[in-house]
């Protein structure tokens, strides 16, 4: 009883809390990231901007136009068109359109791809000035986004 009275008169409960707050003022405990200056290092499996991989040796696309990614996509935002080549008798990719404005980066297209042509990469800066800019064509998918770099 006396202890309780002592505690309430000398505001022990409040000072204990303030001591916790004080300890956390330590500059070693800063967790804020200074974003454009230090860019966050996202994990290896990060699901960000889509990329259509090309064969590094000859620059040809890896995509075999099987259309599985378009079928797997819940939002049906991938459009793949192809035509049968007269020479090789194989399907050749003509256009590949990926609407990133509707994409929720679930990764189902990436899982569906049998040749690892379509991949969600670690690029996370997808902002665009126009709505049309968010609809990526084959060239954009192969090159990847080019976010503005800031000097800090």
């Amino acid at each position: 009883m006396i202890r309780k009275f002592f505690k309430s008169v000398f505001l022990i409960d409040l000072f204990q809390g303030l001591w916790v707050t004080f300890r956390n003022q330590d500059p070693k405990r800063i967790y804020t990231e200074q974003y454009p200056a230090d860019r966050p290092k996202v994990s290896e499996r990060y699901r960000g901007a889509p990329r259509l991989n090309i064969n590094p040796d000859n620059g040809e696309t890896l995509c075999i136009s099987c259309n599985l990614c378009a079928l797997a996509c819940p939002e049906t935002l991938i459009v793949v068109t192809s035509e049968r080549s007269e020479v090789t008798r194989r399907k050749e990719l003509t256009t590949f359109i990926y609407d990133t404005s509707r994409c929720m980066f679930c990764g189902l297209c990436e899982d569906a791809c049998p040749v690892d042509a379509l991949e969600l990469t670690q690029d996370f800066e997808l902002a665009s000035y126009t709505r049309e800019g968010a609809i990526w064509d084959r060239q954009m998918l192969e090159e990847g986004p080019k976010p503005t770099q800031y000097r800090c």
Binding site: G17, W19, V20, Y46, M104, C106, L108, L120
Partner: protein, 370 residues
């Protein structure tokens, strides 16, 4: 709705929300006040309605999995767990033991993340600004584990029907263990900040009392029910995904007021770390994906599977008509059901208590409106 046309001179009908920051989203509460006393409320919901159930009926079983993450976006992993278990039961398959263990680890991490987020925002509503920064700092560590594991932080899409898509990364166990060791002192720190704080006590003690019988009448589940003294946790009552192997207690309290709900959730965080420690020690080896056909086409039938999400009982009711898409998809979200008790809890209280009670119910409007 209390009839607005017959008001006494002292009575007043005001809108709280949908843009009120303490309604945790877009909840609109119409309050009928007598001075500062609340004499009636009505919740207007649906501002975040996206038709998730209807989307589920127009997607294949695998395609719907990313959408369930967007209902309760604070605890996306638990949503996915419930959905995957429901479809697996419909298909009559079971995830391999390794997948089950990893699922338990991720959903317990998510429970801690959800409770941390709840604690921060609830304290912020009450007027304690400091805990929210600390809570989000700890939550960040969980989100880092999620990002390393499945590549997304919030809407994870971590589980697939039949198991897992991703194998655990190197250091998954180590990071989880380190997180458990790190969290417990932090939870003690929050307790130092809040548990005995006189402002916290006077704002929460005896506010928004919901007795055990009332909880059962309203169908309230989760920490709100346990704070009223009912020892009901689906992880113990009907174990799923291998929860029966782990040793943990169900924290309960007696009075069913806002303060008790706070203590129950704090204790739940500690119990979750206990489960995590056990689960990390014994992740069995083996495959992570069960035998699931490429085209999921369950036989005609219906299934209801419920799990203990951080906010209460989360259930999925799926009717299959032997096609690739469900015939009917129904979600029983804990937040929606718990919100029904709001009127009972705030009646007779003060306007300031409404903020505390909405906070303590731990609703997520994405889940209420779906």
């Amino acid at each position: 709705m209390p009839d607005a046309t017959f008001l006494d001179a002292t009575e007043l009908v005001i809108n709280m929300g949908p843009q009120h920051p303490s309604t945790h989203g877009v909840l609109r509460v119409i309050l009928k006040l007598d001075g500062e006393k609340v004499i009636g409320t009505e919740c207007v919901i649906g501002y975040l309605h996206r038709g998730v159930e209807k989307i589920g009926e127009n997607r294949t079983y695998q395609q719907f999995a990313p959408y369930v993450d967007r209902m309760d976006y604070i605890a996306a992993v638990s949503n996915a767990l419930g959905y995957c278990l429901a479809v697996e039961k419909l298909l009559n398959i079971e995830a391999p033991p390794r997948a089950q263990a990893v699922r338990v680890i991720l959903s317990e991490l998510n429970r801690i993340a959800s409770h941390l987020f709840w604690l921060g925002t609830h304290a912020l509503d009450i007027g304690a600004i400091t805990p929210v920064f600390y809570c989000l700092r700890e939550r960040e560590e969980i989100l880092k584990i999620f990002e390393n594991y499945c590549g997304a932080r919030l809407t994870t899409h971590a589980f697939r029907v039949g198991g897992l898509q991703y194998e655990t990364y190197d250091g998954f166990e180590e990071e989880t263990r380190k997180f458990c060791d790190w969290l417990i002192p932090k939870v003690d720190e929050y307790e130092t900040l809040l548990t005995n704080n006189r402002i916290w006590l006077s704002r929460l003690k005896g506010v928004g009392v919901l007795t055990a019988d009332e909880c059962k009448e309203y169908g309230v589940t989760g920490p709100v029910l346990r704070a009223a003294g009912v020892k009901w946790d689906l992880r113990k009552a009907q174990p799923y995904s291998g929860y029966e192997q782990y040793d943990f207690d169900i924290p309960t309290a007696e009075n069913g007021d806002t303060y008790d709900r706070y203590t129950v959730r704090m204790e739940e965080m500690r119990q979750s770390t206990r489960i995590l420690r056990q689960a990390v020690e014994r992740i069995p080896s083996g495959p992570i994906m069960g035998k699931v056909p490429k085209v999921v086409k369950p036989a005609v039938g219906e299934v209801y599977v419920s799990i203990e999400a951080p906010k209460g009982e989360l259930g999925y009711f799926i009717v299959s008509d032997n096609s690739t898409q469900p015939y009917r998809m129904r979600v029983r979200p804990p937040s929606f059901v718990n919100l029904q008790a709001l009127d009972r809890m705030v009646r007779g209280g003060l306007v300031a208590d409404v903020v505390a009670i909405i906070g303590t119910l731990d609703i997520v409007l994405g889940e209420v409106d779906r």
